[in-house]
Amino acid sequence: MSQNHQNLESVVERIVHEHFELEENLEKVLWIRSRATPEICLLEVNSDTFATGMVQSFYFPPSDEVPYPLILAEVTPEEWQKILKNEIELPEGWSLENHQAFEREAVSA
């Protein structure tokens, strides 16, 4: 495993940990790892967001805190179930084939 890869993983884990700490309604975070680029793509399942029937993703450029491009999307638990059934599409280039799921219980432990 390269050092860069380790760095990427530790950055993702820190973001996920922070988001679970700050958002009590955040149930699950999926790190979509299918891209060849070093972007961090996170799909967050949060019961406090609203459903639009689509996955809206937002890009954030690298910063001092997150030295990688970051793409964030939030869906409701119901929308997440529809994604699993392929009733709602993921953004272009995103796939669940290679992802890592973070659950609140596991991250808080």
Binding site: T49, A51, T52, F60, P61, V66, E74
Partner: protein, 170 residues
Amino acid sequence: MTDRRDWQMAFLKQARSDWEAYQRTRQAVWPHCHRLHFLQMATEKLGKALLIGGHSKLKDVTHSHSAFVKFMHIASNNYGLQSKLKMAKLQLKADFSRLLPRAYDIEHLAPALAQDGPNPEYPWLDKSGQIYVPVDYSFPLTNSLQSHQGIKLLKYIEYSLMAFEKLFLS
């Protein structure tokens, strides 16, 4: 005489284009200021597209940079938005109320409202006498938009732009 609806659609079209520019400016080499500039412009025009439909003088709306926070207040009472998002009236109002501080921060990126402070377009002098240049400045708003409330605000902005005709013109 040009109809107000024509002006609404004109501002909406430009707002959508500014939003697309905000979403597509993805190369890491782009300084944060340019993306925030597009975001400020998109939201200002989204606000104007709605406000022009009201009773204010057209010039008063188009010549002001204060439009997005007003948009948030009006949209928080929008029945179409409540209905489409399956939210109760008070729920939508509470949601928008929590998002107002970030909406205010976006609106005040406009140099005319930033009052010689941080803005994404022109250098400014801070109280210590140091000149800041937008391309070198780390805007706190960029981090703030990565939070749950920030993402929620971006979702509302995008949804309002996409469904504007159904939500606000029908």
